[in-house]
């Protein structure tokens, strides 16, 4: 038993777009390190906007994508490894299970939905025979509030999106995994039904002692369900820690911006403010990626990549501000003049 159920060590993923000669590089995941403790089942939310690399990160944990560098460990066992220590094949599928964004895509339109559930029970060797498999399938369906008799023999198009997503959740529970990776599981579902699925995660966490990695762009559901949150921006995890602290007292300016942009029903927005929402095109390897949009930007932010700062015991932020650090002091006299001129 390892200390961490999930551990990412300096994981990066670089995609090559186009041919070998003319291709360009896209850094989808940039040196991400995270860990989720194994002591208790917990929910880790990865929050980010489109293109932040959160889905790529989920796909790496699901072995659907090979990391370009870095290591992923489940319960201390490395993934993507052929050797003895690695977690692979059936053992891996028993430990980690996915829930995908669009439930209608997650099941073939030409295969009965219950076949996937029975297959999971039999092929992952959870059940010894069809009778046992039936019992297991009936049980997991019941725990998501569905009845086997209503699911059996039907195709995906005979269910509503909400129902089908519940079946998706039920399927992922069959091998009693330690970790379920859910990639935007409610974004395709009507707002009024979302909370039903999200509540399911909270219930299943207790009932099945399963941890979740919940990938989402929605800060409010992330706050509602999660124990830990990682905020992603352009491939980097810019802030990570217990969700309560991150979302009520954020350390990274980007988290602050995100929070400020959620259309909350608590207070109305200030009108007539300029927002740094227009994406900045250039990717500068030698600077903080958020510098161009950051309202606290200092000269140093445009010059070097900030370190991952330990804000408190279990909180980190990829920023100069949280650390006790005076950027002015680190500048040459000319730079400090420039930065002063830039601000005025």
């Amino acid at each position: 038993m390892s200390e961490n159920l999930l551990e990412l060590r300096n994981v990066s993923k670089v995609f090559r777009i186009g041919g070998l000669v003319f291709g360009t590089r896209l850094v989808a995941v940039d040196d991400v390190s995270l860990s989720l403790p194994a002591a208790e089942p917990s929910i880790l939310s990865i929050v980010g906007e489109s293109g932040s690399g959160k889905t790529t990160l989920a796909r790496i944990i699901l072995e659907l994508e090979h990391p370009t560098s870095g290591q992923v460990l489940i319960d201390g066992h490395p993934l993507f490894e052929k050797g003895g220590a690695g977690l692979k094949g059936r053992d891996y599928y028993r430990a980690v299970q996915p829930i995908f964004q669009n439930p209608f895509e997650a099941f073939s339109a030409r295969k009965r939905v219950d076949k996937y559930l029975f297959n999971a029970a039999l092929r992952l060797k959870i059940a010894q025979n069809r009778k046992e498999a039936r019992e297991i399938v009936a049980e997991v369906l019941e725990s998501v509030g569905l009845d086997l008799s209503r699911v059996e023999g039907k195709y995906a198009n005979q269910f509503s999106g909400g129902e089908l997503q519940r079946i998706s959740v039920a399927r992922s529970l069959i091998p009693r995994p330690k970790l379920i990776v859910a990639d935007e599981p409610v974004s395709m579902i009507d707002a009024s039904l979302r909370m039903n699925i999200v509540n399911l995660f909270l219930e299943l966490k207790e009932q099945y002692k399963v941890s979740f990695v919940y990938i989402t762009h929605d800060l409010s559901t992330a706050y509602y369900v999660s124990d830990y949150i990682g905020i992603m921006y352009r491939g980097s995890v810019v802030e990570y820690g217990p969700s309560e602290q991150i979302l009520t007292d954020s350390a990274h300016p980007y988290t602050e911006l995100l929070l400020d942009s959620v259309p909350t029903v608590d207070h109305k927005w200030e009108r007539n403010v300029a927002l740094p929402d227009i994406e900045v095109k250039e990717f500068q390897a030698q600077a903080c990626k958020f510098a161009k949009r950051c309202k606290y930007v200092e000269a140093i932010c445009e010059r070097t990549v900030p370190p991952m700062a330990q804000v408190s015991a279990d909180r980190q932020a990829l920023c100069y501000r949280p650390v006790d650090y005076d950027p002015q002091a680190a500048l040459s006299p000319r730079e400090s003049l420039e930065s002063a001129a830039a601000k005025s």
Binding site: E49, S50, S160, G162, D190, A191, S192, L193, R194, M195, N196, I197, V198, N199, H217, L219, S220, T221, Y223, Y224, L247, T248, L257, L258, L259, D260, S261, V262, P263, T264, V265, D266, K268, W269, R271, N272, V273, L275, P276, D277, I278, E279
Partner: protein, 325 residues
């Protein structure tokens, strides 16, 4: 500005008649932001199509009336209805679609996408394409959009930028009524906020009417003055946005608001279980009865009336019927 009385609009499909808008009465005021909220398939987009006077088979008005106050330029106000409203598209009434859908022609530069939205009798049209291009350039500059956008093709723009272009297109001729259909759905929150603020700012400048359809209650809270809640083709509640959020009357509205998770509040939230009824054969009585925790016996067979519960605050629910009578 716009008045709907007992308006029923149905789709006549081979599978049956879809009663998408079923007896909606509301009047939309000048210089206000009206939000229309509801689940997908509740008829809110159809209602918007009808407001825009885009009635194509199989959609048609079955009964009820719809009229608009049209200032004819001489200081007089003329009442016009379906079939006439479309004569004044873009100058009087405009439409902003959801930009994440591919509503921009992929092979035409942005500056040229405005041509078709300038009506034939508009003086600008007579001046030719070059004049329109100049005006577009000036307008985009006014909206602080980057100048490169003009010569770009849609695939070169981000989702947020495409939506800004669509907002610019919808407000280009300063119409009195702007209809926006899910203008920020599928956009990131930061971008969404920028676009919503842009919409509101333009509405305040032009002092016109903005009707926004969205399924997101948070969006409505932030931008709308009045809010209308639709369920299964019916208007179940409408009133000032603040009144609705402070004192939701209809159980459906209450549940919609209650189900919203909030940052900083971990109290238990529940979704609305079940699904909306089929609009081909909707149930008798209140259409929400089957999902309603407060449903009473007569809800299932008696249709509730729309009753006034406060200043400009209306609800259609049996819970309040007895109070009123």
């Amino acid at each position: 500005m716009l008045r709907l009385r007992e308006l029923k609009c149905h789709y006549h499909t081979p599978r049956g008649v879809v009663q998408a808008v079923d007896g909606v009465s509301i009047s939309i005021q000048p210089n206000e932001v009206l939000g229309i909220a509801g689940e997908s398939g509740c008829g809110k987009s159809t209602l918007l199509k009808v407001l825009y006077d885009y009635l194509q088979p199989p959609l048609r008005i079955v009964s009820g009336s719809y009229e608009a106050d049209f200032p004819d330029g001489d200081g007089k106000v003329k009442t016009i209805g379906p079939g006439e409203i479309r004569e004044h598209w873009w100058e009087f009434i405009s439409y902003i679609p959801q930009g994440s859908m591919s509503v921009l022609n992929p092979v035409i530069r942005i500056e040229n996408q405005f041509f078709d939205a300038v009506p034939k009798r508009h003086p600008l049209k007579a001046k030719g394409k070059e004049a329109i291009r100049e005006r577009v350039a000036a307008y985009l500059k006014e909206l602080e959009l980057p100048i490169e956008v003009l010569k770009s093709y849609p695939h070169q723009l981000s989702g947020g930028m495409k939506q800004r272009v669509l907002v610019a297109l919808g407000t280009f001729l300063h119409p009195q009524i702007v209809l926006a259909d899910e203008p920020t759905t599928a956009l990131d929150v930061v971008v969404q906020k920028g676009i919503l603020l842009m919409l509101i700012e333009l509405q305040q400048q032009m002092e016109n009417t903005l009707v926004v359809v969205s399924h997101d209650m948070g969006v409505h809270y932030q931008i709308s003055d009045r809010l209308a809640i639709m369920y299964a083709g019916k208007l179940v509640e409408y009133g000032p946005t603040d009144a609705i959020f402070n004192n939701p009357l209809h159980p459906y509205t209450q549940m919609l608001i209650q189900s919203l998770p909030r940052v900083g509040d971990r109290s238990q939230r529940v979704g609305i279980s079940g699904r909306p009824p089929n609009l081909i054969d909707p149930p008798a009585g209140c259409r929400f009865a089957a999902r309603c925790p407060k449903a009473m016996e007569h809800c299932a067979h008696q249709e509730p009336e729309l009753i006034q519960m406060g200043p400009d605050h209306f609800v259609s629910c049996h819970l309040y019927g007895e109070v009123a009578s």
